[in-house]
């Protein structure tokens, strides 16, 4: 009898969770008619925000993948003093409030910041620029990718690495040909998480890069700007963001899925 109650409890818990998490998303689409959706897309500002969001998050994710993948591999395969400190430092941005991240970036890279003079000499202006948006997105979403990818590399069978070495492959070749494809699905999951986080980033971008149409105003910032004056427009743009995020998530999952399963099925 108690077993049945427990099972019922599990089902109830999942139902409540699902309902709570899905309800706002459903509401966005219910409240937005297809007509509103299309007309909001016709708006110049909305399209610009959308383009900016995709370009900036795309570049941020590319940077994260190129630098983050080898960094995560290092953390996953090496044991060294202070390793856990390094891991904690990398995870820190996960728990930082976005506003704090924005302030931190200003203090580090702003004109009066730690590296401000150096950046100025190099002719790099980050604050209130598109480049600044990319910096903010990278800062906020990189930990998601690093965490996930490190875990993916750690769960890789270590004898694969050994086998690759005894088969004449250098460490670099082993990394490219065995570790990355072997950890592929985990890496893809990290990529989807980081990209999703970058697309939704609001606070750090606002503090560090501001909200200028066509320059730094990504979709979340555009939604916020419309929110007070044009609720329907804000709702429509939200629906677009949800759709794009969901599509990205699905695409990444499908792609990594076919790399594994599609090949085996053939």
């Amino acid at each position: 009898m108690s077993r049945r109650w427990f099972a019922a409890g599990l089902v109830a818990a999942l139902s409540v969770t699902l309902l709570f998490l899905v309800l706002p998303v459903v509401a966005i689409f219910v409240d937005t008619g297809p007509v509103d959706l299309l007309s909001s897309l016709g708006d110049e500002g909305a399209l610009e925000a959308l383009r900016l969001s995709l370009v900036c998050s795309g570049i941020a994710v590319a940077l994260i993948v190129v630098v983050g993948t080898p960094a995560a591999y290092f953390l996953a395969t090496r044991r060294f003093r202070g390793r856990s400190v390094v891991v904690t430092l990398i995870e820190l941005p996960l728990v930082l409030p976005p506003a704090v991240a924005g302030i931190g970036l200003l203090a580090a890279l702003g004109p009066q910041g730690l590296l401000g003079g150096w950046l100025e000499d190099a002719g790099l202006q980050l604050v209130l620029t598109t480049a600044g948006v990319i910096v903010a997105l990278t800062f906020v979403s990189a930990p998601f990718y690093l965490r996930q990818t490190q875990a993916a590399f750690e769960s890789l069978d270590p004898t694969w690495i050994d086998a690759s070495r005894t088969l004449g492959a250098s460490e670099a070749r082993t990394f490219l040909r065995i570790a990355i494809p072997g950890a592929g699905s985990g890496i893809a999951a990290g990529l989807a998480l980081a990209w999703g986080r970058a697309l939704g980033e609001f606070g750090a971008t606002l503090m560090f890069a501001g909200s200028f149409r066509g320059i730094t105003q990504t979709v979340p910032l555009a939604i916020y700007e419309r929110f007070s004056t044009d609720f329907t427009g804000a709702l429509a743009l939200s629906a677009v963001l949800v759709a794009i995020s969901a599509a990205l998530l699905m695409a990444v999952k499908l792609l990594s899925g076919t790399a594994w399963l599609g090949g085996a099925a053939r």
């Binding site: 069978d157 004898t159 694969w160 050994d162 086998a163 690759s164 070495r165 005894t166 088969l167 004449g168 492959a169 250098s170 040909r177 065995i178 494809p181 072997g182 592929g184 790399a259 594994w260 090949g263 085996a264 053939r266």
Partner: protein, 354 residues
């Protein structure tokens, strides 16, 4: 010739070994798990760097800590078959084999990989992914992959352990033939003495990081250097107190009761060993006849058929095992709880210092 010397501290294990094996020879390292067998293979392959050591294969020095030489694994030309085969899951069987064929021109790798798979009887599985293969098929792909680079030494870690008993015998015979034909020194690791005897032309018994005895399987079985080796080669080991008898034989008073004689000298605490096939069983009331000196009354604990033989486990009170034929077992009406007299010759009784 492959020569290996290594001293290393690995957790609780203190590894200190020196061994060698000639081209075409296979040294089977046998011992319990955690004895350091796999670590020896890893030292040879360059996957584990010992505190002090030297690995020389033919005229190539792969490791010499005294001279600061440590060739990376990818340049050592070791064909390594890992315990669970470590086939790359994201690559097809032929791609696994072709992975090591970097010296072969790109266009020929696929053909060469197929050839190798054919040679190991799994040519039709070239396009399969490892996780769709059975244990035996994986082992063949792993072997094909290991020999693809024409290695200078072969290292095999429990190559038969992942196979079910039905495939194991056949795979063992094929592996023995492969090792003979390869013409390179081979090191093989197993926890099973029978497997070591089957695959190795020499066997090294490894215990707690040391090679405690090496020789042919026959030598080890006939003259085990210690109780551990005797036990490992499949003999029954009984402990007791030895003293020279008046008749020139050594008399051993067994712990828990009973006494046996041996032609081998011994004094004080000893282990005596006897192989199960040397032990004959009689009904308890039978009058001892024949030349055998040792008669021990025992209680039958278990009766198990092993192939065409019957394995009889007994308590004397120490555990003793006999292997007899089916008809004899039926004649004696053996069943757990029955009492028998176990009989064997003093000449078949080893005495080993404890």
């Amino acid at each position: 010739m492959l020569r290996v010397e290594a001293r290393a501290r690995l957790g609780a294990l203190d590894l200190d070994v020196a061994l060698e094996t000639p081209p075409g020879g296979c040294l089977a390292l046998a011992g319990p798990s955690g004895a350091g067998k796999t670590s020896i293979l890893r030292v040879v392959a360059g996957l584990l760097r010992p505190r002090e050591g030297r690995v020389v294969c033919g005229d190539e020095v792969w490791l010499d800590t005294a001279r600061g030489i440590d060739v990376p694994p990818e340049e050592r030309r070791c064909g390594y078959v890992f315990q669970d085969y470590a086939l790359f899951g994201h690559l097809r069987a032929w791609q696994n084999v072709a992975y090591g064929l970097r010296d072969t021109p790109r266009g020929e790798r696929r053909r060469r990989a197929h050839e190798l798979l054919e040679r190991f009887g799994v040519g039709e599985l070239a396009d399969a992914r490892p996780r769709t293969l059975s244990g035996g098929e994986r082992q063949r792909v792993a072997l094909a992959r290991a020999v693809a680079r024409r290695p200078a030494a072969l290292l095999l870690d429990e190559p038969l352990a992942a196979l079910d008993p039905r495939t194991r015998a056949g795979a063992g015979r094929e592996l023995a033939a492969l090792l003979r034909d390869a013409g390179v020194p081979a090191l093989l690791v197993t926890h099973d003495f029978t497997e070591a005897a089957l695959l190795g032309d020499r066997v090294g018994i490894v215990d707690r990081g040391r090679v405690i005895q090496a020789g042919t399987a026959g030598e080890l079985a006939a003259a085990p250097a210690s109780a551990f080796v005797a036990d490992f080669t499949g003999a029954t080991v009984l402990t007791g107190e030895a003293a020279p008898g008046a008749d020139g034989l050594t008399r051993v008073a067994l712990d828990g009761g009973g006494s046996v004689a041996s032609v081998e000298p011994g004094q004080g605490r000893v282990a005596v060993s006897v192989y199960p096939w040397e032990v004959a069983l009689d009904a308890p009331e039978a009058v001892p006849t024949g030349s055998a000196q040792n008669h021990v009354v025992a209680e039958v604990i278990s009766v198990t058929a092993v192939g065409n033989r019957i394995r009889v486990g007994m308590a004397t009170p120490q555990p003793l095992v006999a292997e007899i034929t089916g008809p004899s077992a039926r004649e004696l009406a053996l069943e757990p709880g029955a009492r028998v007299v176990a009989t064997w010759k003093a000449a078949a009784t080893r005495v080993l210092p404890l």
